[in-house]
Amino acid sequence: MNSLPSFETTAATTAVPTAAVHPKITGRNVNVFYGEKHAIKDVNVDIPERSVMAFIGPSGCGKSTFLRCINRMNDTIPICRVTGDIRIDEQDIYDRNLDVVQLRARVGMVFQKPNPFPKSIYENVAYGPRIHGLVKSKTDLDEVVETALKKASLWNEVKDRLLESGTGLSGGQQQRLCIARAIAVSPEVILMDEPCSALDPIATAKIEELIDELKQNFTIVIVTHSMQQAARVSQRTAFFHLGIMVEEGATDQIFTNPVDTRTRDYITGRFG
């Protein structure tokens, strides 16, 4: 691929995000260490509210690691150490007094491989609201489940078989179920770690369409290996390389007129 990737004129790329939009998430001097390994070096980033931000970069560049800092999923890795300052709505998420469980209720996550629980479709979506005590009655819960499945564009496909196992769905449906599961907790931010890497092109297209709709209500951060996908769904893009955030800007600027030569080389397919 020697020419710049072509663009489809979707709503995603025509909407121009500006720095004037209030940043939902801010990272300042973020460093991550895995034992001796310095995985993320001095990353500074502002992620605007109700938009899609894409992290791109070659494998091992630290983009997933940074994503996992935003809901503190790295806490589960004993040798992992995070320094610097990450704030959501001005609130330091690494504050001692912050309850990580509450943080994760505000920051949902969708993983690389669809991972529905081996429970019914209904129970998968109801799981989050139940553990957080978000609903009082069965009727309310039914409603939450229905809304979440509708928002994840899965309702029409599963409404007649809510009691069947979630693991019996197709890969793309499973991933949308996982998105519904995250939405059901009413998060403010949704983190997506290569959500389409295990899916075929048709299922991928559906998820991308969904992401585009979801940005009206949620702040979305997506890690992707597909530059076309970043171009299609995001308003802003950050390019990571060897643990450094090389460049960050409006998606069409990054893809048409990158400032850094490393970004240019990567998006034109010269390396990575």
Binding site: V101, R104, A105, K119, C178, A182
Partner: protein
Amino acid sequence: MFLTLFGILVAIAIACHLAGRRRSIALAGSNYAALHSLPGYYGAWLAIMTVGPALIVLVVWSIAAPNVLRSMVLSQFSAQLATSSVAQLDGFWRDIQAIAFGGTAGIRDAVRSDAAAVLSSRAATSTTMMIVLMAAVGVAGFVYAWNAIAPAFRSRHRVESVVKVLLAVSATIAILTTIGIVVSLIAESMRFFSMVSPIDFLFGLTWTPQQMAFRADQVGGTAAFGFIPLLTGTLLITFIAMVVAAPLGIMAAVYLSDYATPKVRAVGKPVLEILAGIPTVVYGFFAALTVAPFIRNSGHALGLDVSSESALAAGVVMGIMIVPFVSSLSDDVINAVPQSLRDGSAGLGATKSETIRKVVLPAALPGIVSALVLAVSRAMGETMIVVMAAGLAANLTLNPLEAVTTITVQIGTLLTGDQEFDSPKTLAAFGLGLVLFVITLSLNLVALRVVNKYREQYD
């Protein structure tokens, strides 16, 4: 004799292997790549063809010869033995063997000495014939295989098909042994059920086989073979064991798989598994000497009447014994639950305990259930602890503080000591064995089905 010949055959096999190998390389000459198979296969082929038939002759002859010799010698002396019973014939045969080959003969008389002389000469002839036959088939096999060796000869295929036959024979032996045991169990049980009605056995409420008269001339009480007290005893002790083992084992497994640091796990898991290595008889005297008195004394302190041998003591100790069984299997299935499910749950803001209770354990449940079922069949088959801690009294009770007995213990008691083998008292052991076999077999089948269902879910 057998061992010497076997040793010689092994030596010949090694020599043939080397010779066949060398011959194949020599025949191939400079065109080594033209050999169809690696040289070792030619060596193996030569060794198999030389030693294999001779080995078969050796084994078959060694098994068949004693019986053939016996009938030959006994028929020669049939006139003198015409009035002998089967048992007397057996005795006669043992005596002449002892006289001929050394040993202590019960009776030495002229007839026996004559017979022994005949036997030893026949035995010598038999051995000679066997060695000649072995040498003949060995040489024939060697010549055939030696000439067959050529670069184009597909020795690998031949050797592999021989190996395949060996594998099939091994599997057959294992299966036939199982079938043999089951068939003899059923046959002996049938003999028992012809003396005691199956209805009385399966539904009777008293178990007093010791009342049975030993010999016809003794006056016996009324023996009763109702197996229900044994079944309730077995179930009671198994239930107590599972009440102890299931929570302890599962909670230990959850701790080791999800909470323990890698260091603790590396030490804790093997230590827990050492429990499984303690001989059950050690658990038995632990139960009888430590736990049972402790339970009795605490019972008395509470004003309860506890017998010194109680179902509770045996059950508790048995429960401890099967903890590692439950924890080890549960730990494996809990670990098999994919990390992605734990991440997915944590990503939704679930705490670790919520994740374990609501995602991990339900996902691992089929595996845990099968672990528990296997533990139950293990507990039912356990004998030693019960002998020492729960006693022999076949009480029909559900009170864990009383002495009870189990199926396995009664099998042991029925068959120990000098017994006639055709009385219902001894044969009852086979009836009990059959029932126990059916129970554990069905439990294992259930466990297997559950495990298979579990596998379908994740592959």
